[in-house]
């Protein structure tokens, strides 16, 4: 029978810290989740030993695990999914520069903060004198990472001072786009801003901070006993200087940390965010109030989704028709070229194509985000559409074409008056399928900062700390868009049969 070593926490709950199996000295693992894509100084693969992780969050996870007598075991989870993953039980604890927010306090069991950061504004060097604060950026595009405190600050600034909030999926491209002129400022925490400064020049970080926040580790709300034990470990590490050594090593130690540690060691409360009024946070509302708060932005995002999908499909149809016509009627060289295009677009991920269009060719052609999204979806879907049209054109009976020729129609007229209209009927059902698929694939363009329905839902879910209501609303909106399309297609098919 397993012997359990128990430790009692301040509130008297018992927590399993170490389990010794008879005949085995194997300690219990501490599964900790993080996103190594986030990079140093948080979590990244060691450039010299890519199979090993380095970063201050890695060292803090090690510190906690060893203090609890456990073996740290890393679980890779995308940054946006860390909360849900913890709640699901994929890992015991998540650490990856996770911000302390009212939503996390309401739905998870965050630890005490272990690092205090400042939200800082970065602008191009040439703009350093005129864009000192958010108030100076009326009508300007300000970038940040979606679903963060900084994004909430920007949404408030959108309402209060008229900035345009632009959401990114990572913390690297906001700065490259700042240099390229696609955005006019970036609001992110000082750790991220300083890290980017080491690799990119041409921007200035304003000294005045916009807000103050904290990094915490999060555990499932069912796991408060382990959370309290970890809090004790963190307090010990603050007291004995272990955390200071870790943060100095990663060059992020500053005067804010000892001040916060002193408050924590004196058992003073630390607010999750200073400088942003979070009393109206959706996490503190009832679910129905939160849903009502987000419905307008979800509807706006639906308009983006439907507009983008309709325009992209329209363009894909035009390009697809041209490709199919070229493949059926063109010479050998043209047919080879077009076949190559179709295979390239079908054989590579659409996400990669979107990245290439928006970031890859940005030095030569600086496409706006919506244009790049539209073009990326259209070029990709054109390849699929062209295959549908090509097979539909080839499915039109040769007798129909010969009958048209014997009547004196030119080859062009045979195509436009006889072959294409009949092929279109054959293509209608697969085209409808593709349109519905495109409607859903349009969610991929959020990587290009286009705020469409899925991205808006993700932000809603992050702020609410739950996917149930946002996911239901999002699914309802997608169905409201796709079902009428399916019905329209069925009616057209019946009419034209």
């Amino acid at each position: 029978m397993a012997a359990l070593c128990l430790s009692c926490t301040a509130n008297g709950e018992a927590v399993a810290l170490h389990r010794a199996e008879p005949g085995s000295a194997e300690p219990l693992a501490l599964r900790w989740a993080g996103d190594s894509e986030g990079g140093a100084p948080f979590v990244e693969a060691d450039p010299r030993h890519p199979d090993q992780l380095v970063g201050f969050d890695v060292e803090i996870a090690d510190l906690i695990a060893h203090a609890l007598g456990r073996t740290p075991q890393f679980v890779l989870v995308r940054f946006e999914s860390l909360d849900q993953s913890i709640e699901r039980g994929d890992a015991d604890i998540a650490l990856s520069g996770i911000e302390d927010t009212p939503a996390r306090r309401a739905t998870l069991a965050p630890t005490i903060p272990y690092y205090e950061f400042r939200e800082v504004l970065s602008v191009r060097d040439a703009d350093a004198a005129r864009y000192r604060s958010l108030a100076d950026l009326r009508g300007r595009r300000v970038a940040t990472l979606g679903g963060t405190i900084a994004y909430e600050i920007l949404l408030k600034a959108e309402r209060d001072v008229g900035v345009q909030a632009v959401s990114y999926d990572d913390d690297v491209h906001p700065y490259t786009d700042l240099i390229l002129g696609r955005v006019d400022a970036v609001l992110l925490d000082n750790v991220l801003a300083e890290r980017r400064h080491r690799f990119v020049s041409g921007f200035t970080t304003q000294p005045q901070s916009v807000a103050v926040g904290h990094y915490v580790a999060v555990l499932s709300s069912r796991n408060t006993a382990l959370r309290d034990a970890i809090n004790d470990v963190l307090l010990g590490a603050m007291r004995d200087g272990t955390l200071e050594r870790i943060f100095r090593k990663w060059r992020v130690w500053n005067a804010d940390q000892p001040a916060m540690y002193a408050r924590l060691l004196a058992h003073e409360p630390v607010a999750p965010i200073v400088g942003l009024d979070t009393s109206g946070s959706v996490a503190t509302m009832t679910r129905s109030d939160a849903a009502l708060r987000y419905i307008p932005s979800l509807l706006r995002a639906s308009v983006v989704t439907i507009a983008l999908s309709c325009l992209a499909m329209g363009l894909a149809i035009v390009i697809g028709v041209l490709i199919a016509t070229g493949r059926v009627y063109g010479g050998r060289a043209l047919r080879g070229l077009l076949t190559g295009y179709v295979e390239l677009m079908r054989g590579t991920p659409i996400l990669l194509q979107l990245f290439v269009l928006y970031y890859g060719i940005a030095m030569a052609i600086r496409l706006p985000a919506f244009a790049a999204a539209l073009l990326g979806l259209a070029l990709n879907y054109a390849a699929y559409e062209s295959e549908i049209y090509r097979s539909a054109l080839e499915a039109v009976s040769p007798g129909q074409l010969e009958a048209a020729r014997t009547l004196g129609l030119s080859e062009r007229q045979v195509l436009t008056l006889v072959r294409a209209p009949q092929a279109f009927r054959l293509a209608l059902a697969p085209m409808t399928n593709d349109f519905i698929a495109l409607l859903k694939d349009s969610s991929l363009v959020s990587v290009l900062t286009v705020m469409e329905l899925t991205k808006q839902t993700q932000i809603f879910a992050t702020n609410l700390g739950s996917w149930v209501i946002p996911g239901t609303l999002c699914a309802g909106l997608y169905l409201a868009m796709s079902l009428p399309l399916g019905m329209l297609a069925r009616r057209l098919e019946l009419k034209w049969r």
């Binding site: 129909q400 009958a403 048209a404 020729r405 014997t406 009547l407 004196g408 030119s410 007229q413 008056l417």
Partner: protein, 229 residues
């Protein structure tokens, strides 16, 4: 309904020593034939003797290896596909009704008939529709003007197909197995309809297996022999 009387020459179609092969397989060999205005020539012979191929060659759908075909003042020479201007002139001279009619599935009966006059011969749409209705009335299917091909019976579809072929008023009408899907009463009706066309001065060439139809309605029967191959 009066046909175009542009040429005084009674010979509408002349085929001279026509030879046609597919690969090395001979289909037509030394076919020489004149068809006069007012004639209904039944082209007969066993399956594979080249009846349909001969019609297709006359309609400019099939290239041939030697000999020549003259329809009115349009000359088709051996070799590949004829030049576009030649084919354009040819298709004012020859109408073709396919065995399975090949009506355009996406168009109504009347739109099938109007398509070529409007788009290939630049007849005003109103005038084309008026003429199409005349043809449908003459063939007894005016009540089916707005029906789609799939809604027509075999006999109705054939009459619409004949009307479509005649919409540009060609002196020569080619028909491939026109009685194949008709019951005896419909066959008699078709014969009467074709006689009416002959009376207008048209020439008809009909590929058929139907001995009875040929005996009753053809002015001349030409038998093709199966080529060795």
């Amino acid at each position: 309904m009066e046909m175009n009387q542009g040429s005084a020459n009674p010979v509408v179609l002349r085929m001279e020593q026509l030879e046609l092969r597919r690969g090395v397989r001979p289909i037509l060999r030394d076919l020489t034939l004149d068809v006069m205005r007012g004639e209904l020539v039944a082209l007969m012979g066993p399956s594979g003797s080249g009846k349909t191929t001969a019609l297709r060659a006359i309609a400019g759908l099939e290239p041939f290896q030697s000999g020549r075909i003259q329809v009115g003042d349009v000359m088709l020479e051996r070799g590949g596909a004829a030049a576009v201007p030649t084919l354009r002139r040819l298709r004012r001279q020859v109408g073709m009704v396919f065995q399975f009619h090949c009506l355009f599935e996406h168009l109504s009966a009347i739109d099938n008939i109007c398509l070529a006059p409007v788009h290939a011969h630049h007849v005003a749409p109103g005038e084309a529709a008026r003429r199409a209705r005349e043809l449908l009335t003459a063939f007894g299917v005016e009540h089916r003007a707005d029906a789609r091909p799939r809604e027509l019976s075999g006999g109705e579809a054939q009459r619409v197909a004949i009307a479509r072929a005649l919409a540009v008023d060609p002196p020569l009408l080619l028909m491939d197995e026109p009685t194949a899907s008709l019951d005896p009463p419909r066959r008699v009706e078709l014969g009467a309809l074709l006689r009416g066309l002959l009376e207008q001065g048209r020439a008809l060439m009909v590929a058929t297996h139907d001995e009875e139809f040929a005996r009753e309605f053809a002015t001349r029967v030409v038998r093709l022999e199966a080529t060795a191959g």
